[in-house]
């Protein structure tokens, strides 16, 4: 004002004044605005500063959960079976992508993953906060991880995560006993109401991985980290709580026996269980066809999963504990025990086998029908040569209730209690059972008793039950709960024995009964009986063969001429040595034909390995010619 713009002439004076006044208005407008702004800064930076400081912290500080290292699983001699390895995952920060749907084709090209799969992965994470990265591709190669990592600037929405991944050192070996791990399902989280599972956590899904998940899993930890706006970790600011690693488990499995069993099983389908008859420890367990549990270690293997689930051969099913089959002739041991114990028959009871028994309007055949039957046999020969007619008549005499009671007493028709997530109980039929499950034909026919007497009919057992039964006979009547865990780590480096008393009950069997049964089972292997292919000199192997019928005509047709699917299932159960047995087993070969032909050699291979390890040397073997001779003679 003091210095108004100068203009020529007096008439300009008022004009200059007017300009000055208006400039002052502009001045005031600017000054007022700046004062308002200054007040805004005062309000934001001084009055509300704590509030915004907190918001800024919550922006950059993130609580990150750290997955624990899963406990290592070893065999009984501490050879690792399952451990952990480093893996790289590619993750996407959803809140850094404006048009997620439009970005999918680019992602698909970069990662080599099809769009529907990517969309599915994003869908899974729809309930999670937007800042939480989504894993798009798992377990990528180092080259792929490096490709993404070197393009941080062009692709700020992608990052590489390093995590530990379950690793099964021997692939398909013992796959069903070990089980597999996977991301916890939404159903599992809902079931576990105590909130022990968090989304995205890796948990056991089958086998001991599932049944001992609580011990193997450990507890996740957390830390506080500084992240940038792309969610990339910049630094750790607060060490929160380190994850508690899972505890190591020592299994009862013996890697050497398991490997021998896997090799001996070759390409056959079926199952086998080898037990310590004095404790119930599972020394080896196989189920074929098998799967590689490593494929489940990745989160996204929907195709692989579908393939395994839809596979007609059901590779995921643990045939040892979940598949039920007719026990066939093996059940004759149960019959003999029941008859001897209840005094129905003594070992001297004899019967005439002419190749069949006409009962009612049907003839029940013996497998030896083509050579005119077994002739006159006593109980021991009936077991050794597996004569059907002998047990048809014995069963008819005993009645179904007595057979059923003894089958139950000896452990059939109930789960063995093995430490695996699920188990089948099998079926031991009796009139009451038939009434319950077959309301349309509720009457028990005497012919059904005759079928049950040789292990057919509605009778169903699991290979595991058969192994437990073999151990029970071998050890003189004690039923053990079979188990896979020998010891678990209770703290770093300190193990505590598990399952120290797995005794279920002891069936009071008379010494005489045991003597007759064991002697007969010894004969099956050692006297050119049906199981002579399992003969190991000096080991006194005791066993019983069995055949579960698949195709009705198989009794009259040479098994070798049938197509594989039509062949009978082969059983071979037993224990060794005869006195104070150290190992008991059940081998089951699906469509294996006769038990003595396919199943016995498998058991023999494992037994040889077992005794070789016990002695620290190789077992006494007969010359191969002798084995060939016995194989042609016996059936």
């Amino acid at each position: 004002m003091a210095n108004p713009p100068s203009f020529r002439g007096a008439q300009d004076y008022t004009e200059a004044n007017r300009l000055g006044t208006r400039l002052t208005v502009i001045h005031v407008v600017f000054a007022a605005t700046l004062i308002v702004y200054l007040m805004s800064f005062w309000y934001l930076q001084v009055i509300k500063s704590d509030h915004y400081r907190r918001l800024s912290d919550s922006n950059r500080l993130r609580r990150v959960t750290m997955a624990p290292l899963r406990g290592v699983i070893t065999d009984r001699e501490q050879h690792p079976l399952a451990d952990n390895r480093i893996a790289f995952n590619i993750r996407l920060n959803r809140d850094k992508v404006a048009d997620l749907e439009g970005f999918l084709p680019d992602l698909s090209r970069m990662l080599g993953t099809d769009v529907p799969t990517l969309r599915q992965r994003l869908d899974r994470a729809r309930t999670r906060p937007a800042f939480e990265p989504v894993i798009l591709k798992e377990d990528v190669s180092l080259a792929e991880a490096a490709f993404i990592e070197s393009r941080r600037l062009e692709l700020p929405m992608l990052s590489v995560e390093v995590e530990s991944r379950r690793h099964y050192l021997h692939g398909t070996m013992a796959a069903h006993a070990l089980g597999y791990v996977g991301e916890v399902s939404e159903e599992q989280i809902k079931q576990e109401n105590d909130g022990t599972y968090e989304l995205g956590e890796i948990v056991g899904k089958a086998g001991v991985e599932k049944s001992y998940d609580g011990k193997l899993r450990g507890a996740p930890g957390w830390k506080q980290v500084v992240v940038n706006s792309h969610g990339r970790e910049i630094e750790e600011v607060q060490e929160g709580h380190r994850p508690t690693p899972g505890r190591a488990l020592s299994l009862t499995l013996d890697l050497d026996l398991q490997r021998t069993l896997e090799e001996a099983f070759a390409d056959e389908a079926g199952s086998a269980v080898f037990l310590d008859p004095d404790s119930g420890e599972v020394l080896a367990m196989i189920s074929r066809p098998a799967f590689d549990p490593n494929v489940f270690a990745t989160r996204f293997s929907q195709d692989t999963w579908d393939g395994l689930v839809r596979d007609a051969k059901h590779p995921l099913q643990n045939r040892a504990s979940l598949s039920k089959f007719a026990p066939g002739s093996v059940f004759k041991i149960v019959m003999a025990i029941a008859a001897l114990e209840d005094g129905i028959a003594g070992p001297g009871r004899g019967d005439m086998c002419t190749g069949g028994w006409r009962f009612g309007d049907r003839t029940y055949q013996c497998w030896a029908v083509r050579k005119g039957g077994h002739g006159y046999v006593k109980m021991r020969e009936a077991i050794v040569h597996s004569c059907n007619v002998y047990f048809y008549r014995l069963g008819h005499e005993m009645g179904i209730e007595r057979i059923s009671r003894w089958a139950h007493l000896l452990g059939f028709g109930e789960p063995t209690g093995i430490d695996l997530p699920r188990e089948e109980a099998g079926t031991v039929p009796d009139p009451e059972w038939k009434q319950r499950v077959m309301p349309r034909d509720p009457v028990w026919h005497p012919g059904e008793t005759i079928s049950v007497s040789i292990g057919q009919g509605a009778l169903e057992v699991t290979p595991l039950q058969m192994a437990v039964f073999a151990a029970t006979v071998g050890n003189g009547g004690t039923i053990w709960r079979p188990h896979l865990i020998r010891a678990r780590e209770i703290r770093e480096g300190v193990q505590e024995a598990e399952n120290t008393d797995a005794r279920v009950r002891t069936v009071p069997l008379q010494a005489r009964t045991l003597e007759v049964i064991k002697d007969a089972m010894w004969g099956v292997v050692n006297e050119l009986g049906t199981g002579s292919r399992a003969l190991i000199a000096g080991r006194d192997v005791c066993a019983k063969t069995g055949t579960a019928q698949v195709f009705k005509a198989s009794r009259d047709v040479d098994a070798d001429k049938l197509t594989k699917e039509k062949r009978d299932h082969a059983w071979f159960i037993g224990f060794a040595p005869r006195d104070h047995p150290q190992i008991a087993w059940a081998v089951f070969v699906q469509n294996g034909g006769h038990g003595g032909t396919t199943a016995a050699p498998i058991a023999r291979a494992v037994l040889e390995k077992f005794f070789a390890k016990k002695d620290g040397g190789s077992p006494d073997r007969r010359p191969p010619e002798a084995r060939v001779a016995s194989a042609t003679l016996s059936r």
């Binding site: 203009f7 702004y37 800024s56």
Partner: protein, 362 residues
């Protein structure tokens, strides 16, 4: 001896304040780009500052009357360049506003700002009308309207908006009648719904977001919220140079351009904000003092045009940072990264210094 006289009447306060703001701007650009893909911004801005200061000197040495004589030439030239930009321009952030000459990229819209200021001043410098009539106003609106239309076509709404305070300030000081002002106001109010319906969806979104930023915190409101957090969390003393988490961790969008004041506020706190607002006030105050002291109408309107343009931009930009105005994408004069804006601003301030230096009737 004339040189010494000029030197003696040189506005050292304005010049120092300009240098101080540009210097602070360089430091903040360094802090907000170090370790990012645009880390070269600091050196480029330093180079542009040198170019700008040279042109500022040129604009100071040549008598502003001589320069004003060329105003129509500059104006036509920049209009041609704006048209050319629409044809061969390079598109950045969905707006075609860049043009390249021999590997050098610049925004003709920035040049158009100063050309418009000069033509407005040249026009109003000749007119001696008592009060601004409708015809004069139409002429002013036409001068401003041509570049605005061309810039909106790019489309660069942010730059176009900065012409509004220029037109408003100059017409007001030139003496628009209150009656004309009221009528214009009514027309604007009546035209608002029409303008709203012609806005692009993203522009409408910006306005809605401004009215309620929490409405869409991960989308359009994100910038606003992050800016408020940056400013507020700076506190009184700030988090320290290179220690602003909002900026360094890239939560702040456009941090070396439109939100550069937020980076400063976060790292330097309220004291830093106070200092910078003070420096801007000094610059605006000295420019207005120049307008007041100018020896003729041309000088008055040259200084006024520059102050309205720069002051308007500063107000629009800082208002966004503190959440008082919707996001428009207006750069902060002298501080925001960008060579064209810096050079054009320094050129304008050179004109103001020119007017001040020649304020005394010789």
């Amino acid at each position: 001896m004339q040189a010494r006289r000029y030197l003696g009447s040189f506005d050292w306060i304005l010049f120092s304040a300009v240098l101080a703001v540009a210097g602070v701007g360089l430091l903040v650009i360094y802090s907000s780009t170090v370790g990012t893909p645009v880390a070269g911004a600091f050196r480029r801005q330093l180079m542009w500052l040198g170019v700008g200061l040279a042109l500022m000197l040129l604009a100071l040495i040549i008598d502003y009357h001589t320069l004003a004589a060329f105003a129509p030439v500059f104006y036509v030239l920049s209009a041609v360049l704006l048209v050319l930009t629409l044809i061969v321009g390079r598109t950045v952030n969905a707006s075609q506003s860049w043009i390249g000459i021999g590997g050098l990229q610049f925004q003709p819209s920035e040049m158009a700002k100063m050309a418009t200021v000069m033509l407005l001043a040249a026009y109003l410098g000749r007119e001696r009308v008592r009060g601004l009539g409708a015809f004069n106003f139409a002429a002013l609106a036409g001068i401003v309207g041509l570049p605005v239309l061309l810039i909106m076509k790019q489309p660069d709404l942010g730059t176009a908006v900065t012409f509004a305070p220029l037109l408003a300030g100059t017409t007001f000081v030139a003496g628009i009648r209150i009656r004309t002002l009221v009528i214009l106001g009514l027309i604007v109010i009546l035209a608002l719904p029409l303008v709203w319906s012609h806005l692009k969806p993203y522009q409408k979104e910006r306005v809605r977001t401004f009215l309620d930023p929490t409405n869409d915190p991960k989308g359009a409101g994100y910038q606003l919220i992050q800016s408020l957090i940056a400013v507020g969390s700076g506190g009184i003393l700030g988090k320290g140079f290179l220690s602003g988490t909002q900026g360094q961790l890239q939560f702040l969008p456009e941090q070396h351009t439109d939100f550069i004041f937020a980076v400063l506020a976060e790292e330097r706190g309220f004291l830093g904000s106070l200092l910078l607002l003070g420096l801007y006030f000094v610059i605006l105050y000295r420019c207005l003092a120049t307008a007041r002291a100018a020896r003729d109408r041309l000088g008055v309107f040259l200084a006024l045009g520059v102050v309205c343009l720069l002051g308007g931009q500063a107000i629009l930009n800082i208002g966004v940072v503190v959440g008082l105005l919707p996001t428009t994408g207006v750069p902060l004069p002298l501080m925001s990264y960008g060579g064209s804006s810096l050079v054009s601003t320094l050129l304008g301030l050179g004109l103001v210094l020119n007017v001040w230096t020649r304020r005394l009737v010789n």
